[in-house]
Symmetry: D2
Subunit: 359 residues, 4 copies
């Protein structure tokens, strides 16, 4: 059962910025069958502009959806990309100027870039977790005088971790978090990580990744007071690693809480959690958002994150921690749940909230 | 410069138990060129007994040393294996009965098995860290009435972690340790991990591994008071993961200490550390025991642990921890430093201490 | 558009022998949504018999279909497995006795085992290639006095190669074939290939594989004269290799023909080929059976064989051969097109031909 | 036993062009311990020129030899690089102009680039196979008026294949060769192949590789008549594939000969072969050049080509071919035997032949 379209029978035209890259391609794929949206413009760097999409994009997996193959790639310029709804897979350098330009021109920009995630007036959104943060859209418009807006989704590691944490934080109040990630190569895009650097080994470092994992969760789990988001008062330490896995970011988490949960309470909280938007039945929303595994050797990125509904986050090995209170392992698909799918779900929430009207 | 042999010109005959497996093969390889020891007996399970070693062992890497190829594999029975010095690569089930039987019959058993590591009167030894724990050999002989003895080396993950911790513990007093490992497939032996289970993915669980990492360090860094080892008073939490790497166990560590070290103090402690046996110049002792890396993306298992001197442990990414005091990454070779090489170094220390006399 | 069920509204009950293994699991998965068949019995070795399927099978990928989880695993004995249609994923040793026992008891056995593939009176079937070989069913029943029958599908490498060859053989008459394969680890089942043996390397040998690739194609492309199959008169040389790929067997083929085809003629033959059963619209039949790639670096096992419709075989790099006439690369999914899916397609063809009546 | 230095006690200063890349680094490593040569200049592209070598080169494996770390990288210009002996790891585009410039200026250029391999007056050299082709140096100098010379080694796949073929060609006369390669990622240098393109899959294409494998063997096995090399009269067909292996190019070969060898004759030819320079005892020459394996699943790139003496080529699975006469598998290290080590061995041969006099 999926919600009826807030747009009636028509599919709303949308643009994808950064459409030729790894995340951009996944936007194209996921939107190809979307009941509410249809890709009418693909935009990318100057180098690709003017070429057929099928020629400009080195398509990575499966078949390219037929309808976009013949689109001509546009420049990332609001003067030539006129859709009201714009999905951005731009890198942070390109996003810095382009995304405000689009918002100023009236577009709703659903962004994967880190550039504005931590800005005070920009929602950093996971619909199941903090849908009320969308209230920042009004704050943003007022502050910046924009018709459009920028709405961001978290870093591809953060989102999986925060979905696993949300039920526990809501029930027990997170105080301290230690997160060690094992991240897939697709997180670095293409060409990204050289095969000689990663085949048969581990790289214990991902540039600029740990600061994101250490700051975004506090905003995501923070409280919107009508004007701003008050950060959740916990401290995070992150070690981020690259491993030879194609898709699926895995994290080992150790946590302490305001109120120490028994293992069974923690499991009950995780298993019972449906998130804040279950009753909306959004097309891309997974049901349930979390899968709790019992097998001692699960979840795994290949068998769980990259199989089945790639919007679900998988949790397992929930057990007491000798040092903090609790520990567990979680894994989720870094390009679907962690990037393109996340933005699309954000757009669906905005649609049913009337924030894409006139789109 | 290597120490002169305590045995004069002759090489002491030694036996290897469990000689056909992954660790057993590495004993054979490392001992082939050893200046003090020579393998005169190979022993293994009933299934292999009576066959030529070259036929019984499915040799994994490089060339099999010529001198062992024609040895006939013996049963693991002190009645037929008469060497005074016995290296044991037996699994813990086989070790449970066999190792005491050998010790009772007068052999010095240098064991990789977990069976007796935590026994009160058995040394759990890393020569660079706790050579004085060898004092337990007398305690053990008195308690058990043995002519021989069992001396153990730690779990293959623990040893690398403890070598990285030792300088910091000695300088600042470890209080809390959170360790997340990414372990190589060779740690599970052969056939070990099925390729379908690990190729392109991560298994967030290794059976019976976390308890070892959570208890052995306290004994290794504990204090021998002449009669027993007083455990070091810190608490450890471990997450252990299998990754598609051939050799080299990597760990992300977060730590707090009695005395909070500044990052530069920690680096100085690590860089200056030479361990307790540097002046002995044992043949297998690495110089220095630790390599401290400055590059942000090091150390790595393939490029560091499995290259150069595989007895060294590699440390990097030493930096403050927002939650505890300090964090770092370490990696070491799990079969050399973590198993066969560790036992051989233990034997060398015992040799210069006169504990292999009559061998 | 899929053919209407020859069974009307009901789904025919089927059994799966060897249901807990890699191929068996894929039978379960593919049949879970099948419009004509439904799995009512799972059978396996004595060791699994009597247990719940969900407990006996270590499920490899994705979710186990709910309807089989609670089935009790049966012994592979026609006295307890009574379905008329039986899919066999047994290994060849087990198949040797079990499959005739089922056929004698009246079952139609759709077999993946090599045991009877080359028997004179047993069809070795690829529906798109040699559907008329089903005529051997009558020969077999007469010769053996069976109510049931054994119908086999080819080795998982052979089937992909023969599908790529069929259009060329039909148009130009194959004379000589040199095939070098690079085969996925799933072809060896689970646990199958040890990770230490294959991670980061190649094994240039697969036990008992080359004889299959060198003999089965001649039968598959042979002529049924009403009584027996006259082998196609070409000679094959095969080198078979294992590579660290999960799914998808790839082959480099060099070929000479009775009539030398120009490259463009060969491409036209491949592109235009629809196979012998296109008009039947069987549920599992891929449309078209072959995908011909133009990109110089395609087809690839991960991006092509294991993506999209896993019943299609992918062909590329069609070009002249300096030594023989023509060369190309092909890849197909070894467990779907090469095993479970192949058997199911065979069953569908038999169903529309009335050979599963009374099922 | 190694030959005495033709240079007496001193080590001859040499330069490495393209010193920062994968092959260049291996030159540095192999020459660090060389008894006859010492690296005194490292040169690379404009981008690296002027920087410390340790800063300019992203060192891949193990420790960087200390003596080169502080060398300042020079431009690849004979005006600033004055050594008489120059090893070139330049790519073919850069080699096209640079190598003749160096030769004109009087340097002996030992080149890995394809640019001049097939030129009529340039030796394409494997010392064990065709040392007399060095006679082309005089032809070259006369034709071009150079004091120096260009001497090349073959493509990294070709050299392994030709070493396996040489004994058979010499004994039986090669007529037809079909070669299918499975090549390591290090063959493409760094960053080279993107991990997303190769992890867990196979790429059945390597740009510009097949023409090299199809033409270089005829020159290598050709006859030098005092003025030019008469190509050996056989035809080659090559399929070249990239596989997820770090080091070691493997090839499956099927061959026919003028005189059909029995399998045992072929094995005897391979086993007895010592090559043309065994009695010279050159420092880098492997003894013997070929290792013939009996185990059915050998040779393998990781266990054989990348273990032990990486200058040896490993051969196995020698057996009759149903189509041609004989087939086998060979593997060799693509960066040592296939590139840097090959050039160094060429230099050693030239040294003992007096062709590096005045160096």
């Amino acid at each position: 059962m999926t919600a009826p379209s807030p747009f009636g029978g028509r599919r709303v035209p949308v643009a994808v910025l950064g459409a030729t890259g790894t995340v951009g391609q996944l936007f194209i794929r996921l939107l190809a069958d979307h009941p509410w949206f249809t890709v009418t413009t693909v935009a990318a760097s100057e180098r690709s502009a003017g070429r057929r999409y099928a020629d400009a994009a080195r398509w990575h997996e499966g078949e390219m959806p037929g309808e976009v193959a013949d689109l001509v790639v546009r420049r990332c310029d609001p003067a030539v990309v006129r859709e009201r709804v714009v999905f951005s897979a731009l890198d942070s350098a390109a996003a810095l100027d382009a995304e405000p330009a689009f918002a100023r021109a009236g577009a709703i920009v659903l962004s994967n870039a880190k550039s504005y995630r931590m800005a005070d007036d920009v929602p950093l959104l996971i619909p199941e977790v903090n849908p009320d943060h969308l209230g920042l859209v009004d704050v943003q418009r007022q502050a910046r005088g924009w018709d459009g807006a920028i709405v961001t989704n978290p870093n591809c590691s953060t989102i999986n971790i925060v979905l696993a944490l949300a039920p526990l934080h809501q029930a027990f109040g997170l105080r301290r978090l230690l997160a060690v990630t094992m991240q897939a190569i697709s997180g670095a895009g293409h060409p990204g990580v050289a095969s000689l650097d990663i085949l048969g080994t581990v790289i214990p470092y991902i540039g600029d990744e740990e600061p994101k994992v250490e700051t975004e969760p506090q905003k995501l789990l923070g409280t919107f007071d009508g004007e701003r988001v008050v950060m959740a008062p916990f401290v995070t330490s992150a070690h981020t690693n690259r491993v030879p896995v194609r898709h699926g970011h895995t994290a080992c988490l150790s946590m302490s809480f305001d109120r120490h949960p028994h293992e069974s309470e923690a499991l009950a909280a995780l298993r019972g959690w449906r998130g804040a938007i279950a009753e909306l039945h959004l097309p891309t929303a997974p049901t349930p958002p979390l899968v709790v595994h019992e097998a001692p050797d699960r979840p795994q990125p290949l068998r769980d994150a990259d199989a089945g509904d790639r919007m679900q986050v998988h949790v397992g090995r929930v057990r007491p921690d000798p040092l903090l209170d609790l520990r567990l392992v979680c894994t989720g698909h870094n390009v679907v749940r962690g990037a393109a799918g996340a933005s699309i779900l954000n757009a669906e929430l905005m649609a049913v909230r009337g924030l894409l009207a006139d789109a």
